[in-house]
């Protein structure tokens, strides 16, 4: 079976069905793609990574936060190590920035010392307590009130969206099918054994289902009569700043945590921006991604405690992300109710870091519940490199244009993204289907003008490459149409009414 990606019909049967195309689902699919199995990933949206995976801090935590012995503690450290091994081959942008937990007084210095001991218990390498002078030398813009910090050299940053795409693309290259715009409507259980998944695109017979449905994983469990856990969505707001102030901060800066959260961080991104956030608000609606005036004011105040002068005038966007919390630890393991159903749920922070390790551990969990595995001889562990024009030297850029003239047409001027890169992002095995999908893959529209200039052009390129009318191009979700035709409007209602 060849791998595929898109809103097609589901196959009649699959050895394993993974529900959810977030970073966790895609990492699991990629781990399963090493074996001779037919694997189907079902994703509700037109693209992967549209829920928790797209809007988070993008941090690879070193692993000193989690309580020793928990899934979080084990998978965080293992996941951070896996990213270091896998990122380059999978095309996942990652920077080993290290991280600092900043203390502002003697009491916080004690907390920081405790974190170091916990980190050592968790197997985190290289942790050091830094003096005020060391911190200021490394981070000249930090608050002068700093007393010291915990330095974690294995802390890193990653692009969470491209991490998901990297896993997904590699899974597809190794024969995984990802069906998008497909919602699960039911799980058929016979004699306490999963036998099929019903979806809006048809029924798939299967004996193994991985629940990686993120914010909706509680609902999925309940479809099999399993109410062993509940998801409490927690919203976090962020402000992203332009690359022109990218030098503000060199490493991930955490405040010293209190009992509630890790606090508001100030961090660079792999693309050279800076962000502040997140706060943590418990909400009921797992789709409520609204930012609020109070929330944004709160993260500004919080970030100022670490970084007193924030370049608020260079903010380019604000967004909210949702974390799928289900108690203190991840929910990993077989369903107590339905055989063949296994959960990778409640994956809150450090979920992004843990994702590749969750992939590995879920293979073991499936094996434990009876899935038989045979190594695939043809497994290809890497994705072909995608040229990033703006990162190349002039000579290489000239060669790229000579080979493909579309490298000579800059579509996104803020980030210097060429038409060739956009076309490649659409035609790739896990290709963009939406304007945001293009933006997240190649950053066209992710800069300071936020697509004001390139948005109409990207829309036209998507329509051309996908062979669809401009009026069918969407922003991100299935119903997020962007433009209507004059005829639609003249007809009174329009196709979108």
């Amino acid at each position: 079976m060849a791998g595929s990606f898109g809103a097609g019909p589901v196959p009649d049967s699959a050895d394993v069905v993974v529900i959810g195309g977030g970073v966790v689902g895609c990492a699991i699919a990629r781990a399963l793609s090493r074996y001779e199995l037919s694997v189907l990933v079902i994703e509700r949206s037109p693209d992967v990574a549209t829920g928790t995976s797209k809007a988070n801090s993008g941090i690879l935590h070193a692993g000193f936060d989690a309580e020793p012995g928990t899934w979080k503690a084990r998978l965080n450290v293992q996941g951070a190590r896996l990213y270091a091994e896998l990122s380059e081959g999978l095309g996942i942008p990652r920077k080993a920035t290290g991280s600092l937990v900043v203390a502002k007084d003697a009491a916080q210095m004690e907390t920081v010392a405790d974190l170091r001991h916990r980190g050592i218990d968790n197997g985190v390498p290289g942790l050091e307590i830094w003096s005020r002078e060391q911190v200021l030398a490394h981070e000249p813009n930090i608050s002068p009130e700093v007393a010291g910090a915990l330095w974690a050299p294995t802390g890193a940053i990653v692009c969470p969206f491209l991490a998901t795409v990297g896993f997904a693309e590699n899974a597809i290259r190794n024969s995984v099918r990802i069906v998008t715009e497909c919602a699960v409507t039911g799980l058929d259980v016979a004699d306490r054994q999963i036998v099929a998944v019903n979806t809006t695109r048809g029924r798939v017979a299967t004996r193994f289902v991985v629940n990686a449905a993120g914010l909706h994983s509680g609902e999925i469990a309940r479809l099999a009569g399993d109410d062993s856990f509940t998801i409490k969505p927690r919203r976090g707001e962020y402000i992203l700043f332009d690359r022109s102030v990218g030098k503000l901060v060199n490493t991930v800066l955490f405040p010293t945590p209190d009992k509630v959260s890790k606090g508001i961080l100030v961090s660079p991104t792999v693309h050279g921006n800076v962000f502040i956030g997140p706060d943590a608000t418990e909400i009921d609606d797992p789709e409520d991604k609204e930012t609020t005036a109070g929330g944004l004011a709160g993260i500004i105040a919080g970030a100022r405690r670490i970084m007193p002068t924030l370049p608020l005038g260079t903010a380019i966007t604000e967004f909210a992300g949702l974390r799928a919390a289900a108690g203190k630890d991840f929910v990993i393991g077989p369903s107590p109710v339905a055989r063949g159903l296994v959960h990778a749920a409640g994956i809150q922070s450090p979920g992004l870091t843990s994702a590749p390790a969750i992939g590995e551990v879920m293979v073991e969990v499936l094996q434990d519940v009876g899935l038989r595995l045979r190594q695939k001889a043809s497994f290809v562990p890497v994705n072909p490199a995608k040229p990033r024009f703006h990162e190349m030297d002039r000579a290489t850029q000239a060669e790229l244009i000579a080979a493909d003239p579309l490298f000579g047409r800059v579509i996104c001027r803020c980030e210097t993204i060429t038409e060739a890169e956009i076309v490649a992002a659409i035609l790739s095995p896990c290709g963009a289907r939406t304007v945001d999908g293009v933006k997240r893959r190649v950053r066209a529209g992710a800069g300071r003008c936020q697509g004001g200039f390139c948005g109409p052009r990207v829309t036209a390129i998507l329509a051309r490459e996908l062979g669809i009318p401009v009026t069918s191009v969407r922003k991100d979700s299935a119903d997020s149409w962007l433009f209507m035709s004059r005829a639609d409007l003249e007809a009174g209602e329009g196709v979108h009414a």
Binding site: A398, V410, R448, G452
Partner: protein
Amino acid sequence: MRELSYDVVTIGGGPAGMAAALAAREAGAERVLIIERDRELGGILQQCIHNGFGLRRFEEELTGPGYAHRYIEMVKATDIDVWLDTTVLAAEPGGVITSVSPHAGMTVVRAKSVVYSMGCRERTRGAIRTPGSRPAGVFTAGAAQRMVNMEGYLPGKEVVIVGSGDIGLIMARRMTFEGAKVKAVFEIMPYSNGLTRNIVQCLEDFDIPLYLGHSVTAIHGKDRVTGVTVSKVNDRLEVIEDTAFDVSCDCVLLSVGLIPENELGRAAGLALDPITSGARVDQFRQTSIPGFFAAGNVLHVHDLVDWVSEEAAIAGRSAARHARGELPALGSERSVTAGEGLRTVVPQRLSAFEPGKMSTHFYFRAAKPMGASVLQFWADGVLAFERKLRVVKPSEMIVADIPVRKIGDASTLEFLVVPAPEKIEAEDEIEEEA
């Protein structure tokens, strides 16, 4: 990789780039090049299909494409080279310009003079931090204008416009003409940021309400915009409690300001004016980088293209003189300050005047709306020049021609706008008959 040499290169082929190139050629620059990213010349004018352009420059009321057409024909009638579909990646001090295009690949141009004429970009929702969700249907007014006027697609059918900048007002009428319902325009300031004529003929003509002193405090919708929440603000622009109301819509157009597009300059170490976000220039429109000039919206945002053309001609002539080595070297400059009542002044500094120069043009933006006022020019603490202004609006650029003899050798140069002692019936306008 091609390598070529030119006397004057303009980066951008909109109204500023074309006017600068033409003026440079006319002033004797022999090899002149316009580098344009789009597939045709004209820049933003091509999507501004409304009329009102050119009253000053051509003494006619033209549409945007019509105004562009005049300049395109003038450029065609010369031997100025035009590269379309070509993006400048870098313009380094010394005049080394690296550009790319699909048809010519990468090219390095050595220019004796460079004119920045890249125009401006629109402020975004992120820049004004409007909370809420991030559904489809939120566009900057200019992006929507391009889709409607050039591609023939509409961004929605029930529209709320945020900000009363001219593009927003123009789009209110355009969307109405296209059959959409424009529900309201919300402006956070107590006055409009658009031209009065646009308030009249784009809003009042169609009974579209303009809410001054109102802020959109949230955008709603999961897939597509479903509405906005609006509140009144006080004079510190803070939301007043219990004044919130919701307006349903499927489209939000933002017209909340324009920002000069100076990324090339910034990369080259250009000194910028923090208020205009454009380069700091002298009366020749020369920037802090020798041989680099700036004109049009990349220098400061204009409300009339006529002024853009005029300013670009100054920059183009100066660029030609610099290419011949006739422009005095930078140095020994005097700063010009925008004082009380004013927000910006261009030029921000003065170099030595050439012999025989009679007067020089200054452009200002007012800090706040005022009635009858007087523009004052103080040289070394002495009131050297006054001009009466019937009315002062931040949305309308003030232009004044100051005689060189009034400037003299003064080292402190400051402009002010103060209330006039009596009502002014007629301004001592430089354009009596529009």
